[in-house]
Symmetry: C2
Subunit: 536 residues, 2 copies
C-alpha cells in the first residue's frame, strides 16, 4: 500500500486514521467517500493502456517497425494484436501446430502428445470440452476487457458452490460434507466462542460497550447461535446446514440435516481449511468463462492478428541480438530458417527460453534459469448422463479434498444436458507429479478409485471417455506456470529490454498463471517498444 501526501506534510492515511479515532461512528466511512478513497465505483483503478495507433507515426513522420514475436500464447497473440493496431509488421513463430499455448481447450478429435511419446486421442462427444489450461476469469481482470473488445461471449464460471463437497480422508471422514454444512458448523462454533468471550469481558481492552453490542448482534445472525440465556450455543438447528428431508407442502416442514458434530470434531475434520479460498482477489465469485471453451480467446486474437502473420510448427533455435535489430533462427519441417526483425518479443516460458542459444549474456541466461516450473494436471471424465446434477443436486462448483485429486470440478454450463464432463482432478505439485508419471490408463484408474470415495460407485458408471493432461510433460511448455523464489534482480532484468529483445508473459507479472498477467505483460512491452520506436 502506498501513502500519498496531501501536500501539507500530513499523509492522507495519517489524516484518516485520526478522523477514524475521533469522529465517531461513520466518520471514517464518510471521510473516505469524500476523499475518493473508499472502494467506490472509481477506486479500483485499472492500468491505463493506450494501444499504439497508426496516427502515432503520421504525427511524428516515423514508420512502424518489424517485430518477431516468439510464441502464440496469450502474451504473444496480445502483443501482436496490439502492435497490429498501429500497422507494425509482426510475425509470430509458434512451435506447436496451434495457437493458445497453455490456453488449450480439448475436444473430440484432438491429439494430446506428451514428452516421452505417449499420445492420447481425445474422444469427447460433440459439444463436450475441457479447458486444460486456464479455466476462470475474475471480473477485475484485463482478460474481461479483451473478451469485450473481441466479442467473446461470457458465462458464469462456478468457482464456489454451497452444494459441492469437502472431503478430508486424513481427518477420518468417511463421507463428504457439503460446503454449506461445513460453513454452518464452523461459523456457528466460532460465533458461539467469540460471543461467549465477548460477553464475559475477555475482550474489554479491545472493545467498547457499543462495539460489544454490535459484535454480539452480528454474531447472532452470522452463526445462527442461541441467545445469551442459552449460552450463545450453536445447535445447528438452522436450515443453513441443509436438510435430509426438504421443506415441502402442507406439514412437510423439512428435517434439518443432523446430527451436528461437536466443536472438537468440526475443527478436527479440517473442513474450514479452504474457506478463505473464495475470499481471494482472483478467486472470489463471480467468475467467468467464455461460452464454448476458453480457447475462444486465443482464437479471437489470432483471427484479429491475421493467420498470415502466425507461423505454426516453427521451433525457435537461436536468438541473436544485433546492432540494428534481431535475428531469429528456427526450425520448420526439419529445415533451419531465419527471420530478421527490428525487435523481438519472446513470450515462451522461461524454462524453454533457457534452452535456446542466444547472445544476450550470462546474466540473462542466469535469470531465465531462476524461476521454478510448477507441476499441475487435470483429467476430464466425460459421462453419459449428469449424475452430479440428477442424483446429487450439484450444479457446478468445486469439491475440495485432501485426496491426491485436490479438487473435482463440475461443469458450469449445459445444465441438464445429456452428457457432461467432470474434471476428476485439478491438482498441483507432488500430486500432479505423481499423476504425470502414470500412463493415462493408470491416471484414469486412480482418479476413479479416489473419486469414488466421495461420489460412490456412480463415479465409475456411464463413463463415455476421458483425457488427461500433465503440463510438466507438454512439449514446448514443460510446466503449468512458474514461481519466482523471489522477485529479485533476475525478475527486474528480464522485465527490461535486452538489446532489441523484450520478454513477456504471465511469468513477468504479479498474476502468474492467469491470462491477466499475460495481457498486462504484453501491454507493458508493447507500450515500451512503441515508445522506443517513436523516439528512435
Amino acid at each position: 500500500m502506498t501513502d500519498e501526501s496531501n501536500g501539507t506534510g500530513v499523509s492522507r492515511r495519517g489524516f484518516l486514521t485520526r478522523v477514524g479515532a475521533t469522529g465517531g461512528a461513520g466518520a471514517m466511512f464518510a471521510t473516505m467517500g469524500a476523499l475518493g478513497l473508499a472502494p467506490s465505483a472509481e477506486a479500483a483503478t485499472r492500468t491505463p493502456f493506450q494501444p499504439p495507433r497508426a496516427s502515432d507515426f503520421r504525427l511524428r513522420g516515423r514508420g512502424a517497425a518489424k517485430v518477431a514475436v516468439l510464441g502464440a500464447g496469450v502474451a504473444g497473440l496480445a502483443a501482436a494484436y496490439e502492435l497490429g493496431k498501429a500497422g507494425y509488421d509482426v510475425t509470430i513463430l509458434e512451435a506447436q501446430d496451434r495457437v493458445g499455448g497453455r490456453n488449450r481447450t480439448l475436444r473430440g478429435g484432438d491429439r494430446l502428445t506428451e514428452m516421452g511419446g505417449a499420445t492420447q486421442e481425445v474422444k469427447f462427444g460433440k459439444g463436450t470440452y475441457m479447458n486444460a489450461g486456464p479455466a476462470r476469469i475474475a471480473q477485475w481482470m484485463t482478460t474481461m476487457d479483451y473478451c469485450r473488445e473481441l466479442g467473446v461471449p461470457l458465462e458464469v464460471f462456478t468457482n464456489s458452490n454451497a452444494d459441492a463437497y469437502i472431503f478430508n480422508e486424513s481427518a477420518g471422514m468417511t463421507a463428504p460434507v457439503r460446503w454449506r454444512t461445513a460453513k454452518a458448523d464452523v461459523y456457528g462454533y466460532i460465533s458461539e466462542l467469540l460471543a461467549k468471550a465477548t460477553d464475559q469481558g475477555a475482550l474489554d481492552q479491545r472493545l467498547t460497550g457499543t462495539d460489544k453490542e454490535r459484535l454480539l448482534s452480528f454474531l447472532s445472525g452470522f452463526g445462527a447461535i442461541g441467545s445469551k440465556a442459552n449460552g450463545f450455543a450453536y445447535r445447528g438447528t438452522d436450515g443453513r446446514r441443509g436438510y435430509s428431508v426438504n421443506p415441502g407442502a402442507a406439514d412437510t416442514a423439512g428435517t434439518v440435516l443432523g446430527p451436528v458434530p461437536s466443536l472438537t470434531d468440526v475443527f478436527a475434520s479440517g473442513v474450514g481449511r479452504n474457506f478463505s479460498f473464495e475470499f481471494g482477489y482472483s478467486q472470489a465469485m463471480l467468475m467467468f468463462q467464455p461460452v464454448g471453451g476458453m480457447d475462444a480467446i486465443p482464437r479471437a486474437l489470432a483471427k484479429a492478428v491475421g493467420s498470415g502473420k502466425i507461423r505454426t510448427g516453427c521451433k525457435v533455435t537461436k536468438i541473436t541480438n544485433q546492432s540494428g535489430g534481431v535475428e531469429i533462427e528456427y526450425e520448420r519441417e526439419g529445415r533451419t530458417r531465419k527471420l530478421a526483425a527490428d525487435y523481438c518479443i519472446a513470450t515462451l516460458p522461461p524454462q524453454i527460453l533457457a534452452k535456446i542459444p542466444h547472445n544476450l549474456g550470462a546474466g540473462v541466461q542466469a535469470a531465465l534459469g531462476t524461476p521454478v516450473p510448477n507441476s499441475t494436471g487435470k483429467i476430464g471424465l466425460e459421462y453419459r448422463g449428469r449424475w452430479w446434477e440428477d442424483e446429487e443436486r450439484i450444479y457446478g462448483g468445486i469439491t475440495n479434498t485432501d485426496l491426491d485429486l485436490s479438487t473435482i470440478w463440475y461443469p458450469s454450463h449445459d445444465f441438464h444436458a445429456e452428457r457432461g464432463l467432470v474434471v476428476g482432478y485439478y491438482n498441483f505439485g507432488a500430486n500432479a507429479d505423481a499423476y504425470a508419471r502414470m500412463t493415462h490408463a493408470d491416471r484414469l484408474r486412480r482418479a476413479l478409485d479416489q473419486g469414488a470415495k466421495i461420489h460412490g460407485d456412480r463415479y465409475r458408471r456411464n463413463l463415455a471417455s476421458s483425457a488427461s493432461i500433465a503440463w510438466i510433460r507438454q512439449p514446448h511448455i514443460e510446466g503449468g506456470w512458474i514461481s519466482w523464489p523471489s522477485r529479485g534482480a533476475e525478475y527486474t532484468l528480464l522485465n527490461q529490454a535486452q538489446g532489441h529483445v523484450y520478454f513477456s508473459g504471465d511469468w513477468l507479472s504479479y498474476e502468474i498463471a492467469w491470462q491477466h498477467g499475460s495481457f498486462e505483460s504484453a501491454r507493458k512491452v508493447v507500450t515500451e517498444l512503441h515508445q522506443r520506436v517513436l523516439q528512435s
Copy 2:
C-alpha cells in the same frame, strides 16, 4: 429435526452424540458416514412423487375424473400437467389474459395494469426482460426437476457477487463498499478478536489444547491476521480487500485498497448485516434462472397441458361444493358461465379466494382470511450500455443497502451486450408500500435519486426505458406472497380437501414465495386427489 430410534431403545442421535464425545478426532464423521447420516450424496432426500399414470386406472377398472383448476399460476399449471399424465379431464380457469400468475417476465410490448387504473406500456428493447416475480432457483428445489423434465434451459443466477456493493446510508457511509472488502474487514477483525481470546485462555472451559491449536490455525487463514507475536492483528494488507491499483506486469505489484477502517468503524457501518443471507438454504449460491426469462417455466407447463385446456380471461365468482362434485361460476367477457367438475383445485392466493362466495363453511372462510399478504415491488431500468460492467466491474450480483431500494440487481446474462437491465429496487414491506403508492414516474425518479447515491451520476445517464411493478396492486393477485401468523389450525384445514375442493399454492407450503412451494403443493394435492379417485 426428528430423532429416529435404532430399534434398541437408543435414539440414533443419542448414540452419535456419545461417539462424538468419546471417539476422538474423526470418529463422529466416520460414524456418520457409516450410518448413512452424513450429508453425503444420498442424504438430501427428495420428496418421492409418483405422477398419476393412465395405467393406474386400467389396473383398477376406473376412469379419470374431471377437474377444474382455478388459476394458471405455477401451482395450477403443475397440477393440471401432472393430472394430464393420467388422462384427467382438466380445465384451468384463469382471470388474466396470460398464464404464469406471479411468474411474470416483462418484455417490450407488454401492458402492465395496476389496480387503480394506471397502466404502463413496457418499452424494453428486443432481448431485454425483467423477471417481475420469481427470479432465482436453488439447486435443491423441485423447480429444477421441472426445468429438466420440460426442457427449460438454465443458466447461473448471480445471487451473490464479491464485487457488488454494500451501502448503509444511516450508518454514515457516503460511498459504497464492495462485498469483498466488507468481508475481509469483518472476518479479519472477528478472527483477531477470537484469536486473542483463545490465546489468552478465555475459552479454556470450552476448548481443549488441540481445539485451540486448530482454531488458531483456522483463524489465521480465515481472517488473514497476524501472528501471535503481532497480537493476531488484522491489518487488511491482504489482497482480499481489493486493490486501488490492480496487480499487473513487471513492478506493478498492485496497491491494496486502503485505508483500513478501525474495528469500531467496521461494526458501526453495519456492513456485516447481510452476510448470513447467502448461507440460507434457499439463497446460497449457486442459483439458477431459465435462459431468456423465468416465464419459460409456465410457458412450458402450459404447452404440455395443452392450450385447449386453459381458459384465460375467466374470473371465478362462485365455488359450490356439491354431493357428487363441484360447480364453478365464472365471468368471461361480461357473461356468467358455469363449469361442472368432479373436483376443484383452487390455487388462487388466499386473499383472492376469501372474496369469492362459496359454500365451504365459516371455518374455511376464516382460514382464508388468516394469511397476511406481503408487499413487494421491483423497477426495471434498461440502459443503453452496461456501465456497471464497463465502469464498475460488476458482472451480476446484488447490492444491498439500507436505502428504501433494499437491493439493486445486476443482470446475470448477456454480459458485455449493448444494453442491459438493472433492477433498481427489489424491496419489501413498508418500502414496497411506499413505492406502490407512487406513479411510475415518481417511482422512477426516486429510484434514480436513491441509486445515484451508490452509483453516482452515471445512474441517470443512458436510460432507455423503465417499468415497475407493485405486486400489492396487481389485479387478481394483490400481494407478493403471504405470511401465516402461525401455521395453526387454519393452515391445517386448508391443506385438507373441503368436500370436492382442494387448495394448493406456495402459501400452503413451507417454501412460501418460491415456485418450489407451488410445485410441492401441487404434487401433494394431485397425489391425494388421485388416490381418492382410485379408491372411490
